[in-house]
Amino acid sequence: MNILFSLVWNATVETLAMVFASTFFSLILGLPLGILLCVTGPEAQGGIIPRPILNNVLGRVVNVLRSFPFIILMILLFPLSRIIVGTSIGTMATIVPLSIAAAPFVARIIESAVKEVDPGVIQAARAMGSTTMQIILKVLIPEAMPALVSGITLTIINLIGYSAMAGAIGGGGLGDLAIRYGYQRFRPDVMFVSVVVILVLVELVQVVGNKISARMMARR
């Protein structure tokens, strides 16, 4: 029992580390990309600096990356992990492909959240003499905040799922535990506990995310 506990505990810590690090980095990549997708888009949908060609190219790149099967993208990105973290095995190494795989997803979610901002409010901000940067930082992001929080919640949940898959190719964490012990060593108890912990994590993130988003809406 003690051994099972410490196995699951260590794997949970690894999963959390992977998920939160990759959420952080995928936001760093995806947030500017998502905002760029929105502001370069059509004027009626928050496009404050419409650039149709750039918008089209970015949109296609994001779509290609999003439709790539995650597990293959991870394998393709291992060399990059070796360059950035020095290894292609283990929890740290998985953060690189996880972040990059989630970034296009984050970009689309941010884009759709920001597009929901009332065009009239953006027009008012322009009429008052806001610069493009001021509109992005002081209007678009704050106005879209509840939707952004929902989007980030969804990203974290997706990354918990992705991180379990990353376990299959030596990433560590709960997915790795479930496959190596539960599947390969015939330990259904380990498999069961790992899956339960993943479910609990997902539920926890969802509840907390909903709470934050609802509280933001209530203050408006």
Partner: protein
């Protein structure tokens, strides 16, 4: 600050939203621009407020040409104009005070100075102490007051009102128009009011331009236009003036109808004429009788403008003489189907 538009054009594809508009908007007054939806009002206000550039033509604020400003100058110029909207367009992520603070923040004003100015502005629009209120808790009228405070934060010379009262009930409309009128006088603003409500023009504007299919079809002082409308669109607007909008002065009454069917003649007269017994004099001089169907006197700005709808009964040449005599004494006579 006066605004002058010279031959403005703006088309979207084959639609000429604004077609060769030239206007001189005097400073320190309230100027109304009225038109039905699709007449080009929204496009015109977007051009004049520098949100959009015209395809051709020029816009001057005082003597300064502003339609072709480079990016930085454009942003600086926009900070010196105020604008309010039909749907208020307030930031839902900010409370009332933070909304008013926005235009001050973006100019880089120090936070203490921002707070001080915001308090002044809240007082100015009658929302003292409501600064911390979230926008969703405010009524329509209060939201428009916040928007007015926000528009005036940087002490602009010009205030654009884009259908600013169209989403408000008549009573709130009146209080907002009064507020704008008071602020216009105390801050010496040039107010440009875009609207589709003739009541707004009557109650708040000194000048009016009537827009139709992207062009100005009539323009002038509101009293003149009310007393002597020259085009069909204007007459339509006047005919549909909502009788339910009560004016606060008992003297300012709306049209009263005695008969369901309209008369053949519409008589319009203004100022001192509203007190003169012109009709009975004419009735005595010529062999005609007046059958009055509807009539009333409206208070426009500081003057009275009267309207009578009536039939004139008599021999055709006597009627013509009577009409000529009325026109001679300053009454505008329109005969249905001839002058409309």
């Amino acid at each position: 600050m006066s605004i002058s538009l010279k031959h403005l054009h703006r088309a979207y594809g084959s639609l000429h939203a604004v077609h060769d508009i030239s206007l001189d908007i005097p400073s320190n007054t309230v100027y109304g621009i009225i038109g039905r939806s699709g007449a080009g009002k929204s496009t015109l206000v977007r051009l004049v407020s520098l949100l959009e550039r015209p395809d051709s033509g020029e816009i001057y604020y005082q003597d300064k040409r502003v339609d072709n400003l480079a990016k930085d100058d454009l942003i600086a110029q926009r900070r010196r104009i105020g604008m309010i909207f039909q749907n208020f367009n307030l930031f839902s992520s900010r409370n009332a005070a933070q909304n008013i603070a926005y235009p001050l923040e973006i100019t880089g004003l120090a936070p203490e100075a921002v707070t001080r100015r915001v308090d002044e502005l809240l007082d100015l629009v009658g929302l003292t102490g409501r600064g911390k209120a979230p926008i969703s808790t405010l009524s329509g009228g209060q939201k428009q007051r916040v928007a007015i405070a926000r528009a005036l934060a940087n002490d602009p010379d010009i205030l654009f009102c884009d259908e600013a009262t169209s989403a408000l009930d008549p009573q709130t409309t009146r209080s907002i128009l009064t507020l704008i009128g008071d602020l216009q006088k105390s801050m010496h603003l040039s107010v440009v009011m875009i609207t589709h409500q003739m009541e707004v023009v009557r109650d708040a504007c000194e000048y009016v331009a009537v827009l139709e299919n992207g062009s100005v079809v009539e323009e002038g002082k509101v009293v003149d236009v009310f007393a002597k409308p020259s085009c069909a669109t204007t007459k339509d607007f006047l005919a549909n003036l909502a009788p339910l909008v009560e004016q606060e002065d008992a003297k300012k009454q709306d049209m009263i109808r005695w008969s369901a069917e309209g008369g053949r003649y519409t008589l319009r007269f203004r100022g001192e004429k509203t007190g003169e017994p012109v009709l009975s004099r004419i009735q005595k001089t010529y062999d005609v009788e007046f059958n009055i169907r509807a009539g009333g006197v409206q208070h426009v700005g500081t003057e009275d403008v009267g309207t009578l709808i009536c039939d004139i009964i008599g021999e055709p040449d006597e009627v013509d003489k009577a009409v000529a005599a009325m026109q001679l004494s300053g009454i505008l006579v329109e005969e249905e189907g001839l002058n409309a």
